[in-house]
């Protein structure tokens, strides 16, 4: 006996429709429908430990804008997102910030870095 689980890959906007064949002990027998290897990885993760890239903002001090947008540079466990948000909420960084610079390394031990996704210069004056 085996069961078929259907997923939509969220790794990119293509949204591949992936079918995962599961054994009666919930072991993955086959994965089809993905157009790239990330799809297979997604399907495995989604059934075992779903992961997402987190995007949000961090407070900037003395910047031209009050916020710098950030992301985790790889998907992090979905279950850790509330905890991550708590950390991020308490974070303050000083301008200037370069787009791509790492604000927190290995955030909460996820293996992912928290990276600035825009450049924020120092406020004038």
């Amino acid at each position: 006996m085996s069961a078929l689980k259907r997923l939509v890959c969220v790794q990119c906007p293509l949204g591949c429709k992936i079918s995962v064949e599961l054994s009666d002990t919930n072991r993955i027998l086959s994965i089809v429908g993905n157009r790239c290897p990330r799809g297979e990885e997604y399907a495995r993760d989604e059934l075992e430990n779903p992961k997402r890239v987190l995007t949000t903002s961090v407070r900037v001090l003395n910047g031209e804008y009050p916020l710098v947008s950030v992301k985790t540079n790889k998907p992090v466990p979905k279950s850790l997102i509330p905890e991550l948000m708590k950390t991020i909420r308490n974070l303050k960084v000083e301008a200037p910030i370069e787009c791509g610079s790492v604000l927190v390394e290995d955030v909460l031990g996820t293996g992912a870095d928290l990276v600035a996704t825009r450049t924020v210069r120092r406020a004038k004056g």
Binding site: R59, P66, L67, R89
Partner: protein, 479 residues
């Protein structure tokens, strides 16, 4: 002489301005955070010719008189007024009979220039009108304006001439001595007065009751409207009415002063508990659409910019109720100022000041020698010639920074509006037309909030749309 005027709609504002011509101490008390934001804000914006009010009524008298004052008033106060004329259109013999009645009524009311037009002439003047039209009544003296600007301009001019404006204070009572009012009590203060003029719009009956003066019961008559985009500008050239019904002038179609098209209003009598709830309804808006389509079948109703509703202060007498109280000697009512209130207001203001205060009550007022009748409106830089605009930008670069893209409003205009008293988003919107265009503020609203924040030295979270509790944003994403 200390005079309090309660309510800063068109009536209160124009009366305060009329009073500011004299050497008196005028205080205009308004419960909203800005002037002209009650009944004045949402109506058909028409300066009526004066043929539909039954001869002998107070409204007929003041409508024709008020109409004749608008031209000069708009020049003195620098608000937009366009005398585009109106047409009442008849589609069958029964309606033609009504036209004839209106013509006779108008002539009796001394409306100038009224004329019956045949079908061809009607269609030549209004080419997109339903060709089934049989005849029309043309009134060249009818016009359009921006009602809130009449109030705003009048108050600015009154203040320039010494009047005081109190915003955000509702009148909650009066202190009386020997049957006369000595103090007006508001939600925040007490004002010593010698004379009170009640122009509180829909709430004027409640104010009169508080004062122990005569009143008529007021109830709201609701009118729903649809505003169409400037894109359709030119499709309608005059104020076009169907023949009137028992209760109203009907659902009409007219251009707005800035080139859009306004459809409406419905006429629905509501209980007095609904005085502050101008709700739009599915039925009402459908009715507006259907009726507008009957007049202008080719009107493209996919160009809706916004829908809104206004309330007119109606009374069972169906006429204005204006006069000095017999019970309270220093109290004057200007009440039940339903349509054509906007048109009548300048004439009523003059009447109240000259004939009631100086005549009937016998107060002798001295004219101020230094009264300045002129007020300059906020300059819309994008409407200037390029040479003049260039000069203005050289003088102040902010006149070159467009913040509202739809209506081409600059930062300088927004700052000027704030200087002149705008404290809310609506305050900026109604003074400058920023956020009034087709995107409805979706580009400029955050920008304008930042200007308000900076100019008022306040935090964005304390800014509101129109009233104390109409907050826009709530706290920060990150402290």
């Amino acid at each position: 002489m200390r005079i309090a005027v309660i309510g800063a709609g068109v009536f209160g504002s124009l009366i305060a301005r009329e009073l500011s011509k004299y050497d008196v101490d005028v205080t205009l008390i308004e419960k909203n955070l800005d002037v002209g934001m009650g009944v004045t804000k949402a109506n058909s914006a028409i300066v009526h010719a004066g043929y539909d009010d039954p001869p002998g009524t107070v409204r007929a008298k003041f409508c024709v008189l008020g109409n004749s004052m608008y031209e000069d008033l708009s020049k003195e106060l620098d608000f937009e007024y366009k005398k585009i004329g109106s047409l009442v259109v008849a589609f069958d013999d029964r309606e033609v009979k009504v036209l004839m009645k209106l013509l006779r009524q108008g002539e009796e009311n001394k409306v100038e220039g009224l004329r019956i037009l045949e079908r061809e002439e009607t269609l030549a003047m209004e080419p997109n009108l339903n060709p089934a039209v049989k005849m029309s009544l043309f009134a060249p003296s009818a016009g359009i304006t921006e009602p809130w600007m009449v109030a705003i301009a009048a108050v600015e001019n009154a203040m320039e001439n010494g009047a005081k404006l109190i915003l955000g204070e509702g009148v909650v009572g009066f202190e009386k001595r020997n049957g006369r009012i000595v103090k007006v009590v508001t939600t925040r203060n007490r004002y010593e007065v010698d004379l009170v003029i009640n122009c509180a719009g829909l709430h004027a009956d409640e104010i009169a009751k508080m004062a122990g003066a005569e009143h008529v019961d007021l109830y709201p008559r609701k009118g729903e409207y649809i505003l169409l985009d400037k894109k359709l500008g030119g499709h309608v050239r005059h104020v076009v009415f169907p023949v009137p019904t028992e209760t109203s002038k009907g659902i009409l179609v007219l251009p707005t002063v800035d080139g859009g098209i306004l459809l409406g209003p419905t006429a629905e009598d509501l209980p007095s508990v609904m005085k502050d709830r101008p709700l739009t309804t599915r039925e009402g808006l459908s009715k507006v659409k259907e009726n507008a389509k009957r007049l202008f079948p080719r009107l493209d109703l996919s160009y809706v910019v916004k829908t809104f509703s206004g309330l007119r202060p109606e009374s069972p007498r169906r006429d204005f109720y204006i006069g000095r109280s017999k019970l309270v000697g220093n109290f004057i009512n200007v009440m039940a100022t339903r349509s054509p209130g906007l048109t009548a207001a300048p004439a009523v203001a003059k009447y109240v000041v000259e004939e009631i205060i100086q005549g009937e009550i016998g107060v002798s007022l001295t004219r101020r020698k230094d009264f300045n009748p002129f007020r300059k409106g906020i300059v819309h830089y994008a409407s200037l010639s390029l040479e003049r605009w260039q000069e203005e930008i050289r003088r102040d670069p902010r006149a070159g920074k467009i913040v509202c893209f739809c209506n081409e409003v600059t930062e300088k205009e927004v700052i000027e509006a704030i200087k002149r008293g705008a404290r809310t988003l609506d305050g900026v919107k109604f003074r400058t037309r920023a956020m009034f265009g087709r995107c409805q503020g979706n580009f400029c609203m955050p920008r304008i909030m930042k200007i308000l924040e900076r100019e008022l030295g306040t935090d964005m979270s304390s800014l509101t749309l129109k009233s104390e509790n109409s907050w826009i944003v709530d706290g920060k994403v990150r402290e």
